[in-house]
């Protein structure tokens, strides 16, 4: 919390410091430090556990073949490991989700931050956040059993039972609260003086919101988008339940497709012999997923720091 506390604990030059040595305090400090270090060990553990089997995997399958070929058939007699269909599936579904979540999330955030009266806000915000607390397997069930069946089938009679569209739509709704609440935080951090200035120049509320508040909060809003996209890429249960488990190199959202996450889930849940190349492929895809989301998270963390520095 404060350097002052830390220093007085360490003794420092404080004339009031204790004379009797307190060994217990030091032991406690070490224990607390160890607890904080668990988070670093976790990251270390994740890196080790995806990296080692991946290296073994890439010893057998060249990295270029993994990254740049378009057939993913680990179960065939002559298995091929080109990850592009899984990336394609991930991108198509994430794109649909983003198309829904960005406008709706940002719109909700502007409404909550600039328009809603405090009393309405007090009810609307927690209600929206309930969405974030619904288990994703429930969303998956809803996508398959309701959205595909009762919403999409009447519109697209040829749609497959497992399809990217229903998974993407539901995933989009799922990340609305993430985008809305982070964007709203960023807009709340915009000093009131900027709004007053805009009003003084004769701007309407809409003009103030769109041309002053949103641009001023832009780095935080972009951070929210990036984190939302990272969420969508890493989401597993919705796609496993609703988008099918067939690798499919297509842009047609009415067909089923497999994503990186649903491959990991399906292969990991099945009976895969430890040490087989198929077993190692789980980790190779996991490594790719971890690297992609890691970079997106870092961008998001950076952007949030930027707006915090600007206004605090």
């Amino acid at each position: 919390m404060s350097t002052a506390l830390a220093e007085s604990a360490a003794g420092g030059l404080n004339p009031l410091r204790q004379t009797r040595p307190r060994h217990g305090e030091k032991v406690i400090r070490v224990i607390l430090f160890a607890a904080a270090a668990v988070s670093i060990l976790t990251t270390f553990g994740i890196v080790i556990s995806v990296l080692i089997p991946s290296l073994e995997f890439f010893a057998e399958i060249p990295v270029t073949e993994f990254l740049f070929t378009t057939t993913w058939t680990p179960l065939f007699a002559n298995p091929q490991y080109g990850v592009l269909p899984l990336i394609m599936g991930t991108l198509v579904i994430t794109f649909i989700a983003v198309l829904i979540a960005i406008p709706l999330g940002l719109g909700s955030a502007i409404y909550l931050s600039e328009y809603a009266k405090p009393r309405a806000r007090k009810v609307l915000k927690p209600t929206l956040e309930v969405l974030a607390g619904i288990p994703t397997v429930v969303f998956g069930f809803f996508a398959l059993d309701f959205i595909t069946e009762f919403v999409l089938k009447p519109i697209f009679p040829g749609i497959q039972v497992f399809n990217a569209l229903s998974a993407g739509i539901v995933m989009g709704i799922m990340i609305i609260p993430t985008i809305a609440s982070l964007s709203e935080d960023a807009m709340a951090a915009v000093p009131g003086g900027l709004r007053d200035g805009a009003y003084a120049l004769g701007a309407t509320k809409r003009q103030t919101a769109l041309r002053v508040v949103v641009p001023a909060a832009l780095s935080g809003i972009v951070a929210a988008f990036v984190l939302g996209i990272s969420r969508a890429i890493g989401e597993t249960m919705i796609v496993t339940v609703a988008a099918g488990l067939q690798p499919n190199m297509t842009l047609n959202p009415l067909e089923g497709m497999q994503t990186m996450t649903s491959y990991i889930a399906a292969a990991g849940a099945g009976d895969v012999a430890t040490g087989s190349i198929e077993y190692k492929s789980i980790f190779a895809v996991g490594l790719l997923l971890f690297v992609i989301t890691f970079f997106m998270n870092m961008i998001s963390i950076r952007l949030v720091r930027k707006y915090r520095q600007a206004y605090q």
Binding site: Y111, R206, M298
Partner: protein
Amino acid sequence: MTATLDIAPDSAPVDLQGKGQPLVDKTFRWILFLCLAVGIIFLAVLLTYVTIKGWPRLTPTLWENMPSLRRPERAGAQSAITGTLWVIGFTALFALPVGFLGAVYMEEYANPASRFTRFVEINIQNLAAVPSIVYGILGLAIFARALALGQTVITAGLTLALLVLPVIIVSTREALRAVPQNIRHGSLALGATLWQTTWRQTMPAAVPGMATGTILALSRAIGEAAPLLLLGAVTFISFNPTGPFSAYTTLPIQIFNWTKESREEFQILASATIVLLLVILLAMNAVAILIRNRTQKRW
């Protein structure tokens, strides 16, 4: 002129705001409201749909009977309920002490300007956004295989504990930060050591905030399915776990297993189990909100 200057932005339409295009402005406001409404309506439809669909199976058989693949009309979710309790029990056992103590270190002991502290902070922020399936890979490689714990309750508990640790640390830190400095200074001035101050003054004052954050973190763990797919929970389990090294299944996994069955009875059963799971989660959230509202202290 002077009269209009002290009007707050919220009441600005009176005089200060430009006339603009009233119709466009009104439409804009409605569009924003609709954006918010979509999410809330979706939530309402989802809750209504699963309740209506699952209603016929929301009977005591749901928690009294064991899962069955042959007789969906009599199958229940008892092993999944007890499995969830076992797994979450171990999650709490591992995650709470480590999370609380780690947060105390970051908030009360660590030097905020040091590079190491900033590194740990960024690391925790990143861990909070790592996909949950990646934690499953960690659990599979380290707990299940390397430490040879197998596909058991304890492996699941440890994995979910790591998954929710960032949430617990962040919320505990916020709770500690809300305790005014005067309390710490007063205690230190009386000669208490830093740990005595933290343990007897700061932490007790932060308990409500810590409890709220903890309940929310555990409710996230209860709903989590993806990492457990890799940790053996999908196997057909029709018995209650007997200990930390027992095989197990949990409610979200049981729901997942039923959604894969094509017969309509299983979809109804899945809906009923979803309602059960959501009731548990809503109850936990309600308790968290209650604690927050009841114990909000004015310093």
